[in-house]
Subunit: 257 residues, 4 copies
């Protein structure tokens, strides 16, 4: 067979940035920061980092913009939602969960912790403490060897953000990449990886809609790093069920004695 060189595989994942896109249309404070929507700023940041196949989808498009065709052409899905988690249909949420288990990467941002998709994949309540009071946030790199932490230095500082505090009701992450310090006195596991089925998931905390967080160079860097990390691998087809024929000859109990 012809060998695809390991070093050239999957260098350009196809990315879909999904956004609830309601705050921006309803709240002037938000549209001042994200006039074309949070998704457009995230997509632009990915282009800056060399990704060429970046598309967007939003809640109020038909099928929430997540048609079978769109998902068929998505290697990594980025998810931002907040006030309208309940408006995402159960069918769409189930479809996304199934795709993740089959290998699609998923990056869940900020208040997406309460989305149907993330909660189903975690199996826990995903609740936390929060405060909107312009806390300063400092995201410390806990795992400097992790590809998601590349090129961000020792920490990322955000002058003002919503506070999220522990206890964050998630399963212990496979890898803890960032921990946030908040000026009001709390900490939070703000960068967490999970594997579910064949899919890689990264939860990244920052990004309240009233702050310019997604314009921040280092935040864009982390999302770009995560998009590359979360792309599907050329894994074996997921194969389950009855295997009546053993791989090795079974011997009767008598024979074994």
């Amino acid at each position: 067979m012809t060998q695809t060189p390991v070093t050239q595989t999957n260098s350009q994942p196809r990315i879909t940035v999904w956004n609830e896109y309601r705050h921006e249309k309803e709240n002037p404070k938000v549209s001042a920061v994200y006039p074309d929507g949070i998704h457009q700023v995230i997509a632009a940041g990915l282009s800056t980092h060399g990704f060429e196949n970046v598309h967007t989808a939003t809640l109020d498009e038909p099928e929430h913009g997540l048609t079978g065709e769109v998902l068929d052409n998505t290697d990594v899905l980025i998810w931002w939602g907040h006030k309208a988690h309940g408006d995402v249909s159960n069918e769409a949420a189930a479809k996304v969960v199934a795709r993740v288990l089959d290998g699609m990467g998923l990056i869940v941002l900020h208040s997406g912790h309460f989305s149907k998709v993330f909660k189903a994949l975690m199996g826990t309540g995903c609740d936390l403490k929060w405060r909107e009071a312009n806390d300063k946030e400092r995201l410390w790199v806990i795992n400097p060897a992790h590809p998601i932490a590349q090129n961000v230095g020792e920490y990322i500082e955000l002058e003002a953000e919503e506070m999220y505090g522990e206890h964050f009701d998630i399963p212990a992450p496979d890898e803890l990449v960032f921990v946030s310090w908040f000026s009001g006195g709390e900490v939070f596991r703000s960068g967490c990886t999970f594997t579910r089925g064949s899919g890689k998931i990264f939860y990244f905390r920052p990004g309240h809609e009233t702050y310019p967080t997604y314009h921040h160079t280092k935040i864009q860097q982390v999302i770009a790093n995560a998009a590359l990390w979360a792309r599907p691998t050329a894994s074996a087809p997921r194969s389950f069920g009855n295997r009546p024929e053993p791989l090795e000859p079974l011997h009767t109990q008598t024979e074994r004695q």
Copy 2:
């Protein structure tokens, strides 16, 4: 305050052994092995190991035997189900999941991997490969320091069992305690711990209904070890939501500069 000595806490968890209890009533081959039901053999094993508060509940009792009062008095729930996962009401399953997140221990046995409760807590498909062909199974202790592996030696050997093979579609367990070898050529992560919310979960593979597995001394030992390990801790109340008052004084951006 009066100090409860650390060394005396929680020595006698209240255990409920839940069983689907249908195979035993319908299949003579099963009732020959478990005439009073799998749950009775498991409960008797626990008594042998010094547990004094052991009760049972089964699918066809009112509310599947899992009333609020029963759950209020359960520190650790043991779950065996196979052919009737669909007959467990969504309400009962959701109630059990909520209790686990609030701290109730859960031990899921064998084909319970496909129960509504376990699948919801894992967030994955929980599928696997299987074969009913009298494979020999040998469960190797991978983590000899783990309290669940106490007093079982280097491995447990079961002369004949159903085979379960990888890939087992679960999240990476917090701790891997046992890995099974099967004579037909497969391996399986057969003893896995998970923490979800305040609840500790142990999945333990063996126990197909046609084999005398739960009569086996070492299998009883593992279940007893797990029941002690999974008992609730005196943890902080799970506390989430808005915290408008910071713990430390917030300074305005101007003040900070």
Copy 3:
């Protein structure tokens, strides 16, 4: 055989509190806080929590107080050291490491992160950032289900402590129990569990010698919780080496075809 009830095993581990015990003899600021040494305050705290077999040992005793007989009678060793790590003989350190791998529990406190014992068991540099400036420290419970976090509430607050900041150069802990917030802007993984061989290890950050940290009720509670958690299990003897006789009959390649 006579069954030892699972519920009664190991309720009273034998604990040795080891202390460098030099600051207290040389620095009046320290002896004002710990006139009889840090070890005595820790030992007294354990007694308060019901432990009856608590002994102490210090660096300047013969063999550093860690004779074979002492170690033979130690289930859990607690370690505080700071300025004299180099004065611990390589032989003593190697002896302790070997005991841990064979099942002795180990609780490493504060500046013990740089001890020969901890570094050898971690395999990394164990370095970190630090500052002596009376930072406030708040240790948040990250894993409320963990037995080491029992009875401490949502967090522990220390009015003044030395700061330790990330990156903390350790392997990813098996379980992360506490994360510290410091008023100066840093975070730290301040409660970490590890298993090495048959031994359980807990690293716990607080306790600079000039602060009354070990007099704090909740700090004593954590150490008591950890001592119970770290006690040895009745695990299989560690058994390695050549196994010329297979457990199952090997078939020649020809037979298998």
Copy 4:
């Protein structure tokens, strides 16, 4: 600043394949399988997979072939050793360990589990059970989402190999990629990842010197996958030590009250 596109970083790691290279010169049975040494076969496999910067080094070269210049130009080091672990100088071993902590990737093969380098990085004894009896080995993929498991299907089958059996005395790996089944009745965690400092480590079990294991296409695939996975990230410089100036203003205890 000019942005290096995320998608183009590090596509060609510089690899050094280190081999003890003594069996091949002393044992005709081994030289029949690896006439130019195990390292040459591994290097050739990497070239097949598109790696262009592959070099080799062996024990009996000056400085074991691991001069400062060689290590300066090594992103990923592959290590095969068996009978002469003791002949590797402590200085060379310490140098390699330091490089790994600073970010160099390390792939440890087969009997390299007992090398000075691996033991120092693990902090445990790294012992195991073994048998030379032509066991069949089947390496099952446990984590199909992992990049190291790409393109190998559900399992890898080796017709004859040395057996390694649990308990394998290592810390719990960060990720478990493969578990081996042996025809003689044992299992083994045969593909394990670890992060130590900024370095990524992969232990891969197969490869006894008398078998043609490294000629096997899928084994070569795994090593190529691992070499790409283990390459250094553009992480922050490891920065430790005293930080007398806090990042945030500290308030005196009085001010805080």
